[in-house]
């Protein structure tokens, strides 16, 4: 029996609702339905990603130009096609354990280029701007102006802001400092100053981790709300037809 075009979305919605309920069944413990939903999700995601990769990358950038080359329609940039073809063939050797080493240069190129770009990006986009932002908290000019104008509350705020930022930054860095002086037969121990800063840093790190955990919790609750809202809107539609 052919499926009408109007029924296809309904079937898709029904399948989505069923899979949502399968995922919720994990509340009762690990079971076959939950595993079915997970396996489907993983399989469909991998299959879809592969299909997109083939359709969007492999076909238009490698197969079709190669086909055109064979058919007598050479591409505008044959060197580009040759490099792509060679690197692709070398990388395919990774499938065979015996010939996997031939794909190492390609992997090295990918990893090396990615690492270089990541390092440059981190330095230019994160470290330097964040350091500059941290330094801006020590607003010496603003503090001077506030004191001159008699705004002692503002001045105290600026001073406290700088002190807190300094303690937080120094303490967080000291927390990850594990160097200690050798004391012979006794266990190595950090200096008292580093220990004290590390204790302060531990507080700020705990606050940061708590904020990250709170964000993850909020995201999870949001996903739960969205799915429950979907079920509330879908189940009457499936059973009631409206």
């Amino acid at each position: 029996m052919p499926i009408s075009n109007e029924a296809l979305p309904l079937i898709g919605t029904a399948v989505a609702a069923a899979l949502t309920l399968f995922a919720f069944s994990y509340l009762l413990g690990d079971n076959v339905l939950f595993r079915l939903a997970i396996y489907l999700f993983i399989g469909v995601s991998a299959g879809y990603a592969g299909a997109v990769a083939v359709e969007s990358i492999v076909a238009p950038q490698l197969i079709l130009p190669l086909q055109a080359q064979i058919m007598g329609n050479p591409p505008t940039n044959p060197l580009d096609l040759g490099v792509k073809l060679a690197l692709s063939l070398l990388l395919l050797n990774k499938l065979n354990p015996k010939a996997a080493r031939f794909g190492n240069p390609v992997m090295a190129l990918v990893v090396g280029a990615g690492a270089a770009l990541a390092v440059v990006g981190v330095v230019q986009g994160t470290i330097l701007p964040q350091v500059a932002a941290a330094v801006s908290y020590f607003d010496v000019d603003g503090l001077d102006l506030a004191l001159q104008g008699g705004y002692y509350g503002e001045a105290m705020g600026i001073l406290a802001q700088g002190i807190i930022l300094l303690l937080a930054t120094g303490g967080s860095l000291a927390y990850f400092h594990f160097g200690a002086r050798d004391r012979g037969m006794q266990a190595p121990q950090r200096s008292l100053l580093v220990d004290a800063l590390a204790w302060i840093g531990r507080v700020f790190i705990a606050i940061t981790l708590a904020a990250l955990f709170a964000g993850a919790l909020r995201a999870a609750l949001a996903a739960l709300i969205e799915r429950l809202a979907f079920l509330i809107n879908t189940i009457p539609l499936l059973f009631g037809g409206s």
């Binding site: 359709e55 076909a59 990006g121 986009g125 940061t208 509330i232």
Partner: protein, 553 residues
């Protein structure tokens, strides 16, 4: 009692010796010492003398002198002298001597194990002091011992026994172990003498007791196998036994105590799940706006996004990068739809891009599900560039030269750069706004690091609540890389309040507020309960330790 000098020599003697003398005086007799039988230094091994080897002359001289002096008068040997000269040489007719006056009394076992021949040798070898040099107490004590020592003198004894012979058990010959025998001074000499062979090579062939013509190192042969005995201390033995016990218990299964707690944990999980579902579902079913929406000054970073879009000229190209994971699409859809709705309201020409394979499909779903009523969406007046592969390198290339990074739309084959929305776009900075919609902090950071520094207007971002804490610091960086952020349901509700609009953020805000409150209460209760249990177990542990300490005391 002999006459004493002003310094009574008897006072210098130890108490046990005084008691012994008194007893002997009372008994009035000292049995003659027994002659020690001939003994060998170790069990069964013949002595070198018995083998007919010659003793050194100095030893013979000492023996001779000693016998002469013993026959004339009794003498005292200085204390401690005899214990050092422990030469295992023995002679025929060596006499057993009892314990000496100057020696400390040995333990009965030691007395049996001690070799009488050694004491004999000490007595024979030790030189005697001249009579004129004897201390007063020793000279004064001589006359009264003369009578006791007559029998000893007759036997050639050289000292007064400290103990009555009746008290001394005859010593049995002790077996000296081979390792002890090897430690004796002169054992090497004796062994070397015993192992002397006739020289067989060289001009001294046939002679014994000569230096070898060939050095030892030149003599080939099998090296003697030395037994390798591992000597370990008690501490090492203890550690080894502990390790052995650990290894022995490795394969043994341990009863999992956590199995006992399955039922309570399962019930607790059901209760928490039901509470959260109720806290979420009831507001969705009831509807309304019972929970207060965020204040107008709550999220200044979201207000910056609103202001930036408000100042957007009409028909301006806006790049929207959709980097949302499928699992968090439901959360990001609320703020994304609010921002896209605002952009479409300002007549921006939207250009969508994704670096995730599922991005283009999710974009289409968002547009058709939430923004289908918008004219631009209904007419398809937007550009979906599709999937940009290559990771960070692709981001870098797209930021520098978008046309080279995406020459065409792969699934349709058309050239997007001919579309009206992308007519005058040659670089990323040519876009009026660049909006990154992401559910992961890492993706947002990658866009900020690779392209944020090159944009004159900076980036705007729509993210999930879990990425917001990581992205917020970029709002204050110098130079500015992130100009605005709308995060999660809170940002969506706030943004819709700024626009006086009702969308997903407003619809979900009630349920979101109550679910957060329920989660907060559960966390507090669970934390207090866990802390109470932990403190109770700590008290039990400390009480048990106190009881054990009290028992030990």
């Amino acid at each position: 009692m002999p006459s004493h000098s002003s310094q009574d020599p008897e006072e210098n003697l130890p108490d046990w010796l005084k008691d012994l003398r008194k007893r002997q005086q009372q008994e009035g007799d000292i049995e003659p010492r027994e002659t020690a039988p001939e003994q060998t230094p170790s069990g069964g091994e013949p002595s070198p003398e018995q083998k007919g080897e010659e003793e050194p002359e100095w030893l013979l001289e000492i023996r001779r002198r000693h016998q002469e002096e013993a026959s004339t008068q009794p003498h005292r040997t200085p204390p401690g002298e005899g214990s050092e000269e422990d030469v295992p040489h023995e002679e025929e007719g060596r006499e057993k001597t009892g314990p000496r006056l100057t020696d400390t009394p040995p333990a009965p076992e030691e007395a049996q194990e001690a070799e009488p021949p050694k004491e004999e040798e000490r007595g024979e070898k030790e030189p005697t002091l001249p009579t004129g040099e004897l201390p007063d107490w020793l000279q004064g004590a001589e006359p009264e011992e003369k009578g006791d020592q007559e029998s000893l003198q007759n036997e050639g004894a050289t000292s007064v026994p400290a103990f009555s012979q009746n008290d001394i058990e005859p010593l049995s010959p002790g077996e000296v172990p081979s390792w002890l025998e090897a430690l004796r001074p002169g054992a090497e000499t004796r062994k070397s003498r015993a192992s002397e062979e006739e020289e067989s090579t060289g001009p001294l062939a046939g002679l014994s007791g000569v230096l070898p013509a060939e050095p030892e190192i030149a003599r080939f042969g099998y090296t003697p196998s030395r037994p390798s005995r591992l000597e370990i201390s008690e501490n090492q033995q203890r550690h080894a036994s502990v390790l052995e016990r650990l290894i022995a218990t490795e394969g043994q299964s341990v009863v999992d105590q956590s199995q006992v707690r399955i039922l309570p944990i399962r019930i607790l999980r059901y209760v928490i799940g039901v509470l959260l579902v109720l806290a979420t579902t009831l507001p969705l079913l009831v509807g309304g706006q019972a929970a207060p929406r965020p204040e107008m000054e709550a999220y200044p970073e979201s207000a910056r996004v609103y202001n930036a879009i408000e100042m957007l000229p009409a028909d301006s190209p806006v790049l929207v990068v959709f980097e949302v994971e499928t699992s968090l699409y439901g959360e990001v859809a609320a703020p994304a739809s609010a921002v896209l709705s605002h952009l479409l309201q300002k007549q921006g020409r939207l250009v969508f891009l994704a670096t995730d394979p599922t991005g283009p499909a999710l974009v289409e779903r968002l547009l058709t599900a939430e923004l289908a009523a918008q004219p631009s969406v209904a007419t398809g007046d937007y550009v979906n560039l599709g999937y940009l592969s290559g990771g960070i390198a692709a981001l870098r290339q797209f930021s520098a030269d978008p046309r080279a990074a995406l020459p065409e739309i792969a699934r349709t084959g058309e050239d997007p750069w001919t579309r009206q929305a992308l007519e005058n776009v040659d670089s990323l900075d040519d876009f009026a706004l660049v909006v990154i919609m992401t559910s992961e902090a890492e993706t947002g950071k990658a866009w900020i690091e690779q392209s944020g520094t090159t944009l004159s207007n900076g980036l705007l971002m729509v993210s999930s609540a879990q990425a917001a804490p990581v992205l917020l610091p970029y709002l204050q960086s110098h130079p500015a890389t992130l100009n605005g952020l709308v995060a999660g349901f809170s940002g969506a509700s706030y943004y819709e309040r700024l626009r006086a609009d009702v969308g997903l953020g407003t619809m979900y805000w009630n349920a979101y507020s109550y679910a957060l409150g329920a989660a907060l209460i559960l966390i507090l209760i669970g934390g207090l309960y866990g802390r109470t249990i932990q403190s109770g177990s700590d008290n039990q542990t400390s009480t048990g330790e106190e009881h054990s300490n009290a028992d030990q005391q």
